[in-house]
Symmetry: D4
C-alpha cells in the first residue's frame, strides 16, 4: 500500500515481539495501522513500546498511531445473531478506520423476518451492504433480494454440528438465489469491510483507499 493509507497486520499466529517489531516499523511512516485478531495482550504490548493505540474489543482490532478520519458515504453492516457481532464489528471497525460511515443493523435474523423489514429504509440508504451470518446464513439472500446495492456476505463459524465451522453458511451464501451477492472467507470481517470501503469510496467520488 502507498503512503497515507492504512497498513494492516494479521496478528493470529504471530508472537508479541514479532507484532511489536512489525508495528514499530510501520508506524514510522504510517498512521491508522490496523492490527486484526489482536488480543488485550497485543494492545498492552504496543502501548508498552510507547505507541499510541486504540483497542476495539469486540472487533478484536487495534488501531496503532490513530489519527481522525472523516467518515463518508454509507455502508450497512447487517448481522443475524448476537454471536455474529464480533465478525460484524471487525467489518464495521475496519470500514470506519478506512474512513467510511457505517450503519450497524444488528440482530435481524431471518427467523424473525419482521425485524428486518422494519429496517428496510436503513438498508436502502447504503451504497453497499455487508451481511454477517452464521448457522444457515440465509440473511444474505433475504437482504440481497431487498436491496439493489452490492451485498458482501460474510459467513461466520457460529453454530454447531452440521454447521461445520461455518461451511453451511458459506455454501448458503455462495448459492444465494439473490443477484448481487458475493462472499468472503468464513469469519473474514476484515475482508468484507475492506471491499465495502473500496465500493463506498467509489460512490462518494473519492479515490479508492489503497
Amino acid at each position: 500500500a502507498r503512503t497515507g493509507v492504512p497498513e494492516v497486520i494479521y496478528c493470529e499466529g504471530k508472537s508479541i515481539p514479532q507484532i511489536q517489531g512489525i508495528i514499530n516499523r510501520m508506524s514510522e511512516h504510517h498512521s491508522n495501522i490496523l492490527a486484526t485478531r489482536a488480543t488485550w495482550e497485543v494492545f498492552e504490548a504496543i502501548e508498552k513500546i510507547g505507541l499510541e493505540c486504540q483497542y476495539h474489543e469486540q472487533a478484536r482490532i487495534m488501531v496503532a498511531n490513530p489519527r481522525p478520519v472523516e467518515q463518508v458515504g454509507n455502508i450497512a453492516v447487517v448481522s443475524a445473531g448476537t454471536s455474529d457481532i464480533p465478525v460484524a464489528e471487525e467489518a464495521a471497525v475496519t470500514a470506519e478506520t478506512l474512513g467510511n460511515h457505517v450503519n450497524r443493523i444488528y440482530d435481524v435474523g431471518v427467523a424473525g423476518i419482521h425485524r428486518l423489514l422494519n429496517v428496510c429504509d436503513d438498508l436502502f440508504e447504503a451504497n453497499v451492504s455487508v451481511v454477517v451470518a452464521g448457522m444457515e446464513g440465509a440473511l444474505a439472500s433475504v437482504v440481497g433480494g431487498l436491496v439493489s446495492c452490492p451485498v458482501i456476505g460474510v459467513p461466520t463459524s457460529v453454530g454447531y454440528g452440521a454447521s461445520f465451522g461455518g461451511v453451511a453458511a458459506l455454501l448458503s451464501m455462495l448459492n444465494s438465489c439473490a443477484s448481487g451477492v458475493s462472499v468472503v472467507n468464513i469469519d473474514n470481517g476484515f475482508g468484507a469491510g475492506y471491499q465495502a470501503s473500496l465500493i463506498n469510496k467509489i460512490a462518494v467520488n473519492k479515490a479508492p483507499p489503497e
Copy 2:
C-alpha cells in the same frame, strides 16, 4: 403396513418386470399403491398388465388401483423456484393420495420476500408445512420463523457448483435458526409428504395412516 393403508414402491433402480411383479402382488389386497420415481414407461407397463392406474407426471408418481379418498385437514406445500416443483409435487401428491388436503404455495423464494409475505394467511391455516427449496435453502428458515406449526424441510438438488447436489440446501435447513424445523433427505418429497400426513391426520383426529 397393515390392510387398508397405501403400499409404496420406489421405482428407481428396479426393472420393469420387477415393478410389474411387485405391484401385481400388492394390488391383490391393496388400493392406492404409490409408485414413486415412476417413468411413463412404468405407467404403460402397469396398464399393460391390466391394472388401473393414474400417472402424476410432474410428481413422477403413479397410483395403482386408485380409489377415491376424502382429503382432510390442511398441509401447506411451499416451494422456492420453478425447478423445485417436481419435488414439491412428489410431496403434494403423496399427501393427497394418503387422504390429506394440500395447499400448494409455489414460487415464493426468499429473494422476493414480499411474495411470501403475501401468502402468510395461507401458511397460518396449515396444520403442518412442507418447505421445498434448493440452492441456499433459506426458505425453510423464513417460513419456520413465520408459522407456529411444524415445518418439514426438503432440500433439493437444484443448483450447480457449490450447491453440491443439494448439500448446501441440506446444511442450511439442518442449521435453521428457526425452531420447529426438521429435515428429510435431498429430493425426498415422498418422505416429507408422508410425515406431513402423519401430523395432519393427528390434527383432524383420525388414526394415523400406517
Copy 3:
C-alpha cells in the same frame, strides 16, 4: 414468540453478563425461560441476580422464572447409549418445560434389539417419538419401522474416527429406509423436543405452544 409462551436462550458463546442481561429482560414478561447449553456457572450467575431458577444438569438446561405447567399427551424420548443421554435429556426437559408428558426410553441400542422390542408397547402409546443416537444412528430406522407416529431423529456427536462428530449418524438418519422419519441437527435435543411438542400439542387438541 408471543406472551404466555416460553422464551429460549442458547448460552453457548455468550458471556455471563450477556446471559444475565438477556434473561433479566425476558423475565419481566415471561416465565419458564429455557436457557440451553447452560453451565453451573450460568445457573449461579442467574441466581445471583435474584431470579428463581432450576438447573437440569444432564440436559444442560436452566429454567428461569419457573412455574408449574400441566404435562399433557405423550412424547417418547428414545436413546441408544449412555453417552447419548445428555442430548436425550435436552429434548426431554425442553418438551416437559413446554408442557408435555415425556416417556424416557433409554439404553435401547440396536445391537441388543430385544431390549427395544420389550418396550414396544411404550413406543406405541406415544403421539410422537424423538430418537437420539450417535455412532451409526440405526435406532431411528428401527423405531421408525416399529411405530406409526412421526419420528424425529437426533444424531449425536458420540463416537470417534469415522463417526466424524456425528456425521455418520446424521447421514444414517437422513437415509432412513423407514417412512415417517425426519431429522434435526447433530446434538440438537432442543430442536427435537420443540418440534415434538408442536406435534404432541396438536394431538391433545391444544393450541401449539408458540
Copy 4:
C-alpha cells in the same frame, strides 16, 4: 494365487480383447476362473474363443472353465432391499464358486424388523455372515447384535441425495455399535464373499482357498 485355486479378473475398465487374452492364458492351468463385473458382452466374447463358461447375470459374474465343487460349511448372505441384490449375489456366487454353501437371506431390511427376527435360526447356523445394505446400512448393526459369528458388512451405493453413493451406509457400518463387524468397500460383494470363504473354510477344517 497358487495352482488349484480360482483365479479372479475384475472386468470393469478392461477391453474385450484384454479380457479374452487374460482369461485365455489363465484357462491353460486353472478352472473356475471368476470374472467379476462381467457383462453379457464379456460372456459372449469368452464363448466365442471356445471356452466353456457360465454367466450369473444378477451377480454380474462369469465363471470360465467351470468344474463342480463341493459346497461346504455355511455362509449367510443377508440383504436389506431389492436393489441390494446384485451386490449380495456377487458375494454369494463368489463364495459358492470358491466351494462354500451359501444361505441367501434377502429382503430383511430393518424397517420391518420382524422379518429379520423370523429368520434368526438361519442366521445362528452360519459360520460367518455377509450383510449387504445401502441407504442407512443399519442392518449390519442389527445382525451383528443378534449373531455371535463374524459379520462382514458390504455397504452398497443404493440410495440418493445424502447417501452419497454409499458413503452413508459405509460410515454407518464402520461405526457399528455391535462387536464383531468389519467392513469392505462400497459394492464390494466379491471381497466380502472371498473373506467369508476364508473364514468358513477354517470352520470346516479345510485349507483356506488361496
Copy 5:
C-alpha cells in the same frame, strides 16, 4: 426487478415450453431479457414464437427483445485459460447487456506471469475487475495484489482430479491473501457480471440497474 431493467431467466433444468412461456410473459413489459445457460435449441424456440433475440454462443446467453444500450464505465473481465472463456463471456455479456463497457483480458494465467504484467495498464483503468479462473484459481490473488479496485473472483469447474469440479479454485479464491477480493459460485459468470455492473454503475454516477 422494476420496469426498464433487464429480467433474467436461468434455462438449465427448464423445458423448452416452460422457457417459451416465461420469456413470452416477460417480453410484454421488458426488453433485453437475459436467458443464461441457453442452448441453440432455446434460441430457435424463442425465434419460433416470433420474438426477436440474439444468441451469444460462447457465453451461452440469449438476449430476448434486445434494444441498444449505452455501454458506460469500465469493467475488466480477466481470465486464465482457453477453457475458462465460456464463463468469462457469461460475465462479459451479462455486463454489456446491463449497459457497461467491458474490457476482455483473456489468456493471462499465472504460469506465464509476464503476459499479465503486460496488461497492467488495462487493469488499472477498470472500476471493478472480474477474474475468472479454474484449476488452482491463483489469478484472483495476483490480480487482487496488482489493482486497487474491487475484484470479484469466479472459480470455474475447469480441471480434473483434485480440482473437484471447481472446489480447488473456489477455496483458493476464498483464501486469497490479497485484500479486496470477494467470490461468487463456481462457474457463476452471470453473478459476477451482475455485481460488477452494480459497482461500475456507482462509479459512473448512474442509478444502479435493479
Copy 6:
C-alpha cells in the same frame, strides 16, 4: 452377552462414578471385564471400590475381576510405526483377555519392506491377522498379499495434514488391492481384536466367545 463371556465397557465420555457403577454391577456375575479407553484415574477408581483389576497402560485397557484364561490358537497383530502401538496393543490385549494367543509383529512399516519379509514365517502361522497402520495405511495391502488367512485392517489416526485423522489410512485399506482384507473404524483396536478372536476360536474348534 451371555454368562461366562467377557463384558466390555467403553470409558471415553463416561464419568468416574458412572464407570464405577457399571463395572460394579457387571462384576457380580462376570470376570475379565474389559474397560477400554481407560485412564489411570479409572483404574484407581475401580481399585478404590475394592475390585481387583489389571491395567494395561499402552493398550489403555483395564481388566476388572481378572481370571486366568488359556490363550489358544494364533492371532498375528502387525503394526507399522511406533505411534501405532497403542492401537495395536488395544487389539492384542483384547484378544488375549478373550483367550487367544497373540503374536505381536511391530514396527514393520512398508517403507522398509525387508523387515516385513523377514517375519513372513510368523505371518504364515497365524489363523487371522490384525494389521494396524496410520498415515497411508499401505501395510494392510502388503500383508494381505502375503498371507492367505483373513486380514482385519485397523487404520489409525496417526499422521498430520492430509491424513485427516485417519481417513487416508481408512480409505487406503478399504480400497486394498489384496483380497481377504476387511476394515474396522479408525483406532478401533478393540473391534479388530474382538473379531480376530471370533475367527481364531473357529480355527481352534472352540465355541466363539460371545
Copy 7:
C-alpha cells in the same frame, strides 16, 4: 517455453477447430508438439490439415511435427495394475518425447510384492521414478522405501466406491511414510513425466528442457 523445446496442448474441453488452430500456429516454429488427452478424432483432424503426427493410443498423446530425439538417462515408470497403464503411458510417452530413456515396469502391484522385488535392479538404475497407482496407491510408499532416487507419485482414478475417483490413492501418496516421495494431481501422467524429465536431465548433465 523457449525455442527448441516442446510445446504442450491439453486437448480436453477444446473443440477440434480450436486444437487445429493452436497446433497449426505452434508448428510454425516448433517440433515435437505434445497434445495430451488427444482422441483419434483429434489425430485425424491434425493429419487433415497436412501436419505430420504420431498417435500414442494408450497414452492418449499425439505428437505433432515429430523429429527424432536422443533418449538419454533413465526414468523408471512403475505401475500397479492393468487399468493404470493409460496414465503410466502418458508419463512415459511425455518423458520419451522430451528426450529421456524410459524403463517401463508395469503390473507390479503391492498385493504381489515379489513381482516388485524381482525388478529391484531395474528400479535401482533409474535417476528418478514415476509411480502410477490407483485404488489404495500403496505402491508409491513401497517403491519409495526401496530406492534412493526421487519418486514422483501419480494417483489414478482407477477404483470404485470409497476410492472417490482417485482421492484414496492421492491421500495415500501424500501421507507416504517413505521419504523422497512427492505427488502430482490424480491421473496427471503428463505432469509426472515432465518433472521426471527435468530431474533426469539434471542427472545427464544437460540443460533442463524448458
Copy 8:
C-alpha cells in the same frame, strides 16, 4: 538408511523416554541425526543423556551428534508469509543438514508480485525450488511458471475458515497450471527438504544421500 547418511526421527506423539531411547541407539553408529517436530523439552532431554546436539527453534528441528558437512549446490526455499516460516525453515534446515546449500527467499507472497519478480535471479540459480505457502497457495504456480527447475510445493496449514487446515493450499498446488510442480503433505517441510536434497545432489554429481 545405510551407514554414513543421516537418520531421522519424527518426535510428534512420542514420549521423552521413547525419543531418548531411539536417539541414543541411533547415535552409536550415526551422526547428524535429524529430530523433527522437536520441542525445547526434547532438546533438553537429549542433552541430559550426554549427547551433543543443536536446536533450530523456528524449524523445530534438533540435530543430534552434529558434525560439519559441506553444503553444496543450490536449493531455493521460497515462502509466502511470516507464518509460513516454520515450515520453510523445516525444509531449509533439513536440506542444510543433509549437506546442501540453501538460499532462503522469504516473504514473497503473490499479493505483492513485484517482491517476487525482484528475486528472479536468485530463483534462476537454484537446481530445485521448495515453495512453501498457506492460504491459497498460489505461490507454487507463479514460481513454477518463472523457473525451469523442478518445484516442490509445500502447502501449510496457515489460514482460517475455508483454508480447512491447509486443504485449500494443497488443492491449489495439486492443480497448478505450471508444469514441473509436485507436492508433499501439508506442513511437510521435512519431506520437501529431503526430496530437494536428492535432486540437488544429482546436480552436483554426488551420490544421493540415502
